[in-house]
Structures are given as C-alpha cells and as structure tokens.
C-alpha cells in the first residue's frame, strides 16, 4: 500500500479497500518508526491528522469526495497551517503556531480533502541546498544516511523517498524542489512563477519563490498540482488564468518533440557519470520519437552571481519583519528597543540566514545599489531573453538537475560558495520565472541522478507529459530506497 501511486490510492479509497483513517495511520506509524533516523519531519500531530482523515472518510461516504480526498501528504514547514507549529526551519519561529492557513494549505485541506501528515524539515527560511542549515538538525538521505537529501525541501524529499508520505509539497526559489528531488530519486515540479499562490508561504525571495509538488512520478505531480494552483487575490503576483487539468496531456505521444540541449549545460562542471546518465535519458527520448537540437544560454554562467544579489536583497527586506515584536523569537535580555532587535535577530537566525541578510543589506545600501542590485536585475533580463531565444528552436530544454549526486553531510557546509554552486543548473529557471522539473534518470554508485526538464511559460502540462512518457518507458522512478 505504501508504494502505491496517488491514482491507485484514490482508487483504493473509492473502492473502500482501505479507509483514509487506516491509510493515514499506516503512514503515521511509518513516520514514528523511521523519522528518528531521517529527521524528515519536524512536526507530527497524530490527532490532527486522524481528525482530517475521519472528515475525508465522511466525504467519501457522502459521495462528495474529490480525486485525492483522504490521501495523506507531507507539507513543507514553510506553509502556514492554522493550529500547526510552522517554523520555516528556524529558531526564530520554533514556537510559532500559525493563526491562519496558507492558500495552498487551505485548498489542499478544505477543497481537495487531502490529509496532512505533518510538517517537513527544511533549510532555515529555505536558504540552503543540503538541509543542513535547519535549526532542527540535518535531514538524512534515505538512499545513504551519511549523505544529504538536498535542499531546501530536503525533509519533503526524504519523506517521500522513504515512503513516509505518498507525496509532499515543496517550494523552489533557486532549485529547492528540483535539486532534492534529483538527490532522492523523486519527480518534482516548480511551476511558472505566479501559478501557485504565495499567500501564507513564508517569503524568502518574493520574485522567485514558487510552491510545487514532489512525488514518485509525473502523474502524481500532475494530480497534486491540480489541487495547489489557482488565482488568489491575496497574492499580488498571482496570475488570473483559466483553470487547467495538468494531467490532461500525460499520455500524448512524443513524436516530433524538439529537445533543446544548451551547450552550456553539457560542458565542464558536471560529474562525468551524472552526465552519462543524463545523455542516456536523452537517447531514450530519441527512441520515443523526439529530436534534439543544440541551443545556447550564453548568460547562464551569470545566473549564480545574479541570484546571490537578487535573492539576498529580497530576503533582507522580507526578513526584516522578524524583529521580536509581533511574532517569533525575542531575546531575554536587552537594554532598549534597538538592542532588542539586534539581539533577537542575532540569536534567532542561523549563520546562513544572517549571511544572506547581510549581503542583501549591502547590495541595497547607498552607493552600491546600482553596481549590484540594478546590474543583477539587468543580467536577469539577459538570462530570461536567452530562454526566449532558445524556445524558438525547441519545445523543451533538458540537462542535468544537479552537477553531482548527493554529497556527504558536512562536505560543503563550511564553504558557502561551494554550496551555492550545487544549484548552477536550476537557478536560471527561477530568474526567468519558467517551469522546471526533475525526473529520475539513473544511478551513480547507488545514488540517484535527476534529469532536468525546462518548459516555456505555462507549459506545465507539456512538461508532465514529457516526464510521464519517459516514466512509461523506464523504471528509474520506481526504484525505492532500501530503508526499513
């Protein structure tokens, strides 16, 4: 039962083969048993989950259930959920019980009838690529517990990979869904910016942040995405678009699909065996009827530098709200108001978050704004324009998700720059605001490798189709970590 797809679980619930209460209990028991090893969840509340499961069973009995009603999932602890502790991986919010629901949570709970199993561990305020910056300790990769699961959605990735949950939510500012999906053998999708509401999703870099699904397959991701999207007047950058069924094109044949291969993604900088797995996946696509064409993203080498100006600048502004006044941590001893701010923030934030706030404060400060912040925004335009040009010649872009497989805990923790370079292939997608996916495409030394798919704006259904057809022809995504 724990390895079933969302569609299979939905069928089992509809056929009364199992109740939501039983299914939820099955996963909660598994969390109890395996979470001490993995540290994937930071909050589990059995009573709350079971109450939601009972309500779902009532909906199923009454015939008012949606396609995913009664299925339990894991929520990244960046989404505010009413009555749930919502920490964002930080000491700053360690005791914050959210008084409201994020739109994504509200949609999943009230509309879709999904059951939340708990809140998953993450890099503090989503700033990290290994889940090691969490105040609640690192998450371990189910494929090798001496290694990181990736980040920042590392808890969600480890939870699904170890089948502590059938699927999970994640968020992606520079690769935080795709990179952990790659490192844990999952399928993950970052939608086009503006498709998923950011209301109640604790802000890191507002012009880049986007929520999305993490699951075992493209089909699961499509079904979960259907419950997450929609216009939201409470998010000023939410896009008012017609509702789509993201599963509608899953089975479309790939004949004639033009795959763009950016030469910059196939040069130096990627592990040779990871690259071999990616190339083998592209060869499989050719067998499925696709053709390949070389394209160029000439400014992609500037995406990491531009990102590390823009994201910290936005973070320094967003995180100024944590001042120990309205919510969150307040230092015990202070001399005056200013000292209270200084001490609360010094004690409440971890080292990486402080570093990024300081970079942001600097690049926005008088005399440096033009040279750094505006220059980064101009480069952001060049990067986005490169994609516009590339999509004149292809339908989808492919390459590696991450330059390496999962690295060892502690391996990159001391050197921020090395950690930042884990996201060299994913960041440009956020800067341009495009949709991107990671799809399992092989193993190197027993560790998963991810193939990145990048689509044009609003091409989520097409990306899911491209991923699904590959998953019909291969079984990489069905391999499970041997953790019991």
């Amino acid at each position: 039962m724990i390895n079933r797809s969302l569609k299979q679980l939905s069928q089992a619930l509809a056929a009364r083969e199992i109740s939501s209460l039983e299914l939820t209990t099955l996963f909660l028991d598994r969390i109890d048993r395996l979470n001490p090893t993995l540290n994937a969840f930071v909050t589990v509340d059995r009573e709350k989950s079971l109450k939601m499961a009972s309500a779902a069973d009532a909906r199923i009995a009454a015939g008012t259930a949606g396609p995913l009603t009664g299925i339990p999932i894991a929520q990244k602890d960046i989404f505010c959920a009413e009555g749930w502790t919502t920490t964002c991986g930080s000491k700053m919010l360690a005791n914050f019980v959210s008084p409201y629901d994020a739109t994504v949570i509200q949609k999943m709970h009230a509309e879709a009838g999904l059951v939340s199993l708990g809140k998953t561990n993450m890099d503090e305020f989503a700033m990290g690529s290994s889940n090691e910056t969490s105040f609640f300790g690192p998450v371990r990769n189910p494929w090798d517990t001496s290694r990181v699961p990736g980040g920042s959605s590392g808890g969600s990735a480890a939870a699904v990979a170890a089948r502590l949950a059938p699927a999970a939510t994640g968020t992606d500012t520079g690769g935080s869904i795709r990179q952990p999906a790659a490192l844990c053998n999952l399928t993950g999708l970052k939608p086009t910016y503006g498709v998923v509401s950011r209301y109640g999703m604790i802000a890191f870099a507002s012009s880049l942040d986007q929520g999305g699904p993490m699951a075992a397959s493209a089909e699961d991701c499509a079904l979960l995405l259907n419950t997450m999207v929609g216009f939201d007047e409470r998010d000023s950058t939410s896009l008012d678009r017609p509702v789509e069924d993201y599963a509608r094109d899953l089975d479309k044949p790939l004949n004639g699909l033009r795959i763009g291969l950016p030469k910059e993604f196939f040069g130096e900088g990627c592990d040779a065996e990871v690259m071999a797995a990616v190339r083998a996946a592209i060869a499989e696509y050719e067998k499925l009827g696709a053709t390949t064409v070389e394209v160029s993203l000439p400014n992609s080498h500037l995406s990491v530098p531009a990102y590390y100006v823009i994201a910290p600048a936005e973070a320094s502004s967003n995180l100024s709200r944590f001042d120990g006044v309205r919510y969150g941590f307040r230092a015990e001893d202070y001399a005056n108001l200013d000292d209270m701010y200084m001490k609360s923030r010094a004690q409440g934030f971890g080292a990486e978050v402080k570093r990024r706030i300081m970079i942001g404060a600097y690049v926005l400060s008088h005399g440096y704004y033009d040279a750094y912040y505006l220059q980064a925004q101009r480069i952001r335009r060049l990067i986005a324009d490169d994609f516009v040009e590339a999509f004149k010649h292809c339908d989808v872009i492919m390459g590696p998700t991450s330059p390496t497989t999962a690295f060892k805990l502690g391996e990159k923790a001391a050197d921020p720059v090395q950690m930042y370079l884990s996201d060299i292939y994913t960041i440009a997608v956020n800067l341009a605001g495009l949709p991107g996916m990671s799809v399992p495409c092989g193993f190197v030394g027993g560790l998963p490798v991810g193939l990145q798919l990048i689509g044009n704006y609003f091409a989520e259904a097409q990306l899911l189709n491209v991923a699904h057809r590959y998953q019909q022809a291969t079984d990489w995504h069905q391999r499970r970590a041997a953790i019991e």
Partner: protein, 95 residues
C-alpha cells in the same frame, strides 16, 4: 572588491544583527568569498538593458478600497512575545 572588518560591522548594524568581533571576522571571510563570485557580473556590459524586477511583466493589481478581512486581532496576538490590552509591548522609546 573586498569588505573591511569595519564594513562588515556596519552592514550587520544596518541589518540589525548584533555581531561579535570574532563573528565579524568569520563573516568577513565568507562574505568576501561570496562577493568574489558576484563580481563576475561586473564585466558584463548591460547598457541599454532594462532591469527585470519580476518574472512576469504585469503591473501591480489594485483592489477596491473596501474592508475584506474580519477582525482577528486576538488570534494574531496570541503568537506575540508580549501584548497588553490589544497592544504590542516593546521597551520604552520615549522618556
């Protein structure tokens, strides 16, 4: 570009983060490493390129100037470090 220790302390102050001398020294090393990475941008000629603030070129949406939310002050203040009579308490600012 290389940040001096004094600059690091000034940035920490701007960000309202207390920093000890020892932390400032470690931070200086890390920030200079990061800025070395960022400096790659400076070689690019971006004259005539419009800065891109946002992924979608849409203008900010405005809504009717009307009350849409109910009063949830009590629920929102439960999570505050210190409140009294509906007010957030902070150390005295004006003598």
């Amino acid at each position: 570009m290389s940040l001096t220790l004094e600059q690091v302390k000034r940035i920490a102050h701007l960000a309202r983060i207390e920093i000890s001398d020892a932390e400032a020294l470690t931070t200086q090393g890390h920030l200079n490493g990061i800025f070395q990475l960022i400096e790659e941008m400076q070689a690019v000629d971006t004259r005539g390129v419009e800065p891109m603030a946002h992924a979608q070129d849409v203008s900010q949406r405005l809504r009717e100037d009307a009350v849409t939310e109910g009063d949830r002050r009590a629920a929102y203040q439960v999570v505050a470090p210190e409140t009294e009579a509906g007010l957030y308490l902070v150390p005295k600012v004006i003598e």
